[in-house]
Symmetry: D2
Subunit: 384 residues, 4 copies
């Protein structure tokens, strides 16, 4: 019998039914007024969600495409940038910049810890000639479940009077964790459709500050598809430089309505509440979280150390048979952790179902636990 | 934020996504070959699910319409019938027969107990002239959660050589609990779309044995819409006497495929397993089930006595806020019980989520329980 | 390759995409507040469409079920009623009344002509004791494409001071042709979901005047499923006496919104305009319409005499291969006419496509016509 | 009232209902076995449609992204390439190559004529050192409606023993016009989801020959997102380097099934038949086609010279009001032509509806024509 799926990976996330229904829209002219209105409507909604008055650009691509777009529009070959390696996804920005000829300085962090303003400062305070053109921050490192304090990075830059662009990868944090784009002076925010926006993949979302636009004019990295100027020009007349992923726009309209109805502060609170309940349940089973520092734990995803004698494949296959999909460790964390996503459309019962599946499978695999201990801990967390 | 709904009432049931997608079908000609093939295909599938070679008739109506159809086609005013009162839904058949002029003998049972073959026998063994034309059996009494042993009623009739028609209301048992229509000699089975068939409401499904057809020819209760003969004639040429609820036929095609893929024995086993886990969880919270006799408990729905000091409205509103919909007591049981449906597309995680919601709300309402005790007991039941 | 279908039969009609999308709604509790609100909302919308303040009742059934419901609630066995035979569907009401024991007087009309107020008067003016309890009017006879002047029947009854109930079958006219329920004093209007309401079949819609309610209290025809009182009681608290066809209610919400946005006078005008264009095209091909009296021609469906030497099956199969479904003659008109529906979501281009298909097939079958003559005539009709 | 839309632009195309229904699929794990099977299934289907045994790569992007991907994977800065300017879309490939540092030689053609093998030969026969690394061919120039003879370009290259890569933009020709990738030795074919594949936009499809893979290893243009090697590696294990546009994969599965059921030769024939009928209708109204050479006319889109005194905006707005969307001239052709798409899911009745709308609007705008002349000419074309 068909099972409901509990897709508890850190994206793509479970799609709300009204969003699913909206995807089912007949084709329309991408150069007609219906599309223009839909686009304008969605851009207005995204500005609210992204807490910005900056321009919003929308590319038919995954979130990684959005990261590449940001880099090739802001930089020229040879430019110095400050990147972080604290997991697979923070690495990505530095890697892309490197491929396009930037000179990348890496901040190396143990995977499972968060880069801090002090880490960035340690490099930038010696950059007296302001050679660093951009600072890359991964708001939420999906591979390890750490959340970075973006605001403190901004304060540090202000403190140093450093003019570097602040570029934030918010692919797995937008509409999940508070990101005050304008208040915090984030020059470029890159996100994507399949996480907090609760859509299928295929759309990247980018906000661009006036300061970033100025950099864009000077940037010489080669580009055509990702050209911000062309995109801005065409969006100004309600079009796109090429055929957009129109059906996602219909879904986005509904997803933004759902977020608006809940209210962004409530969206953030709900994610925190779910994360705390999930983490309480995981720890109640005697499992150890990868991220030791409680303040650095992500509201989107939790990485858990695999108990000795339990293989990831056995755990994942077991929960999958119960309809619950979890994620594994990537690269150096492969076989060492498992990851549970708790982002997007998620409420108490899905957290409890997910923990229930983990309890049942861990028990079957010989992990010592009293059945009900994780679900009970999560309930207690919610009732606090 | 939109919540997934856990519709844990005893019908309508949660609709599998592929069935939902199939409902979305453009209109077709109800007198064309596409409809004729769809109809024939669905009738073949229903015969498997209903375990019968009898004719299948499909009416655009709820299940209650199917019951009325059965009665007005089998009986004439003045005919004696044997009906049962063990809950709201068993009453219904007797009531309809009464309204159309049948002479109804009632077997009165305490609500929460199941009528037995012995109960029927106590009446029929005195019916030496075979005046009773029909015996009504409600396979699963949805209002109390008891399951009736249909097979033993058949054996009793055979034992008495009694020729009464065996008419079974299987609205909330078809594709949930084993019902061997032909092996057990059930003359008429009435069911509906919105329970074990996992569709929206709007379609009643009826199987008619040759013996029932013979009765149908003699029956003089007035009818037009429900006329079995007209329906059979039109279905024989792939049509209907009036416009059918076509979109449900597209959904039915997919629902039957899902049932076939699982295999009926597995469907029944899954329901039993879910019922046992649900009941284990409920009892672990110190709750008392309405049905004392374990052998009479339904695999479709469980009725639970409300703890003193807990009002149904508070409990139901509380779980509703968590996305879990439960049902209340009907008529004389109103305010005394609540009911949890566990039929249709249902698996371990939905049972655990449902129990989790009940735990959280009962705890908040002051019921003494250790959080995790119900979910834990359900897990243990599944792992046995 | 999949073809768009032009379902040009007189119902079911082509379903607008937004209605289709709405059908795809997950199951909800039919005894919960969400359903209650949806029901109330739809009833309000239907009152506008039906131009009435009378109670609206909704049954899970086809339109024919609605007709049966009206009859068994208004009448007692032996009651005299005045019915019409001017086609298959007008016959139906009289037939149902007869089956339930009414004494039916038939007005016989040639099929293809409309019953008139004078026809009814000829009977009723002799009914000095007011023995006729009900007068049956089929607003639009779907089998022949005639439209009856309901208003003049009302005036005739008033003129005679005759108290008979005016019962109108508006299955294929609601939201197609103006029907002023309250202004014209129509006691009961019966309609269905799959015609002007542009939904799948499965829902009948009935309005009941205070006078009809008074009759309902006295009526003794047997009933349970169709009981108006029970339905009214349950609808008053936002429920139904049995599981409704919930998904149609979600579709109905959208269909009513579409009608409201267009405005009922525009809906009627559009149907008239489409009918005139279709008829102009048909006649331009040298075809003869069944209904000679232009004033009696229906805005919903046009019946056309088959040219000599052209078999219906060949014509219908030919247009079907082009994606255009037409209807045939029923009973005594079988093989003599074909019928083209032009009701529901229909605009210029569908009329032209339909005529184009007819031109191509008739031409292939040897009918003498200049290709483009029908589509051209329809265009000219629209441009007038 | 909601209208069916006749989206007769040269893409995106009307989406078949079964494809629309499939888009409505709940999210799945893009690293799980269900996605891996779906991917493999779709790749197999695409190989049939693309007539190739070459590797297929799928990028979350529009077709233009696929063109950029091809260029940055095949070439190094400074490489010479031969490009064509015969319309907006043929320009694009040369422009992208230029932006990434290639040395582009342009063949200039009058817009409305097709580049020929002779045009390419005129350049390449002087390239005795084989400095041209790639030859760009736009199979169907969407902006003007010309079709290029790809096979003859291959023969010319063979004739010259020229090793340049043959790179074909088949965005608006795949599954519309025969393109024998392997037989004709096309090294790279780039297409997209929203044209002949009848899906929403958002997916580009690329086939890569062994010779192209060899070039890929040497190519030094910067890239990360578009990296063919990474994509091939991940696709080999049933995954993607980043989150794919999963829902399009469910739609693609159905679209490929529809194409397979029809059979590719029938798909091509149907497009030719529709194009001829459309063009017959357009010319019957006294309109002049942009492409004079009949052999160069595209089966996907027809460009038509605007009659004097008729403004494009008036024409387009007029047909839009009838539900028919046409396209305008781009860049130097703006205001001079209009374009009618006839690709994807399209049959006789949509062609006739489109012509009917054009007739009605042109007539209203004062163009001298006899109503029915275009639809009649199209019918005659079909009946030949």
């Amino acid at each position: 019998m068909y099972r409901r799926s509990y897709l508890q990976i850190p994206g793509p996330t479970n799609i709300p039914d009204p969003v699913l229904q909206a995807l089912n829209h007949p084709a329309i002219n991408h150069r007609g007024s219906e599309f223009a209105e839909l686009l304008a409507h969605n851009v207005r909604g995204l500005k609210q969600v992204m807490q910005t008055e900056n321009d919003i650009l929308l590319f038919p691509s995954s979130g990684s495409g959005g990261l590449e777009a940001a880099i090739v529009n802001l930089l020229s070959p040879g430019d110095k940038v400050l990147a972080v390696n604290m997991g697979v996804f923070s690495q990505r920005m530095g890697q892309i910049a490197h491929n396009f000829g930037a000179s990348v300085t890496w901040i190396e962090k143990e995977w499972g810890t968060a880069v801090t303003a002090a880490d960035y400062r340690a490099v930038l305070e010696h950059d007296l000639k302001y050679e660093y053109k951009a600072v890359f921050v991964t708001h939420n490192e999906t591979a390890t479940g750490v959340l970075v304090d973006v605001e403190s990075v901004r304060r540090m830059l202000d403190d140093l009077h450093h003019p570097a662009l602040l570029v934030v990868d918010a692919v797995s944090s937008l509409a999940i964790s508070d990101l005050q784009t304008d208040t915090w002076g984030v020059d470029v925010v890159v996100s994507a459709s399949q996480k907090g926006l609760m859509l299928p993949g295929g759309l990247s979302v980018i906000s661009v500050s006036p300061k970033a636009w100025a950099a864009q004019e000077r940037a010489t990295m080669p580009k055509w598809y990702w050209n911000f100027s062309t995109m801005r020009q065409r969006m100004a007349i309600g079009q796109m430089p090429y055929t957009p992923a129109i059906n996602l726009f219909f879904g986005l309209e509904v997803a933004l309505k759902l977020l608006q109805e809940e209210g962004m502060p409530n969206v953030f609170r709900r994610h925190t509440r779910n994360a705390l309940a999930m983490q309480a349940g995981l720890m109640a089973m005697g499992l150890e979280l990868l991220v030791e520092n409680e303040a650095e734990r992500s509201p989107a995803v939790t990485a858990v150390k695999l108990p000795a004698n339990i293989a990831y494949q056995d755990l994942a296959r077991g929960t999958e048979q119960l309809g619950v999909t979890i994620g594994g460790g990537l690269q150096r964390l492969e076989g060492k952790i498992f990851r549970v996503g708790h982002l997007g459309m998620l409420h108490e019962m899905e957290v409890i179902a997910t923990l229930g599946a983990l309890e049942m499978v861990l028990h079957k695999l010989g992990h010592d636990l009293q059945l009900g201990v994780a679900t009970g801990a999560a309930m207690a967390s919610y009732l606090r």
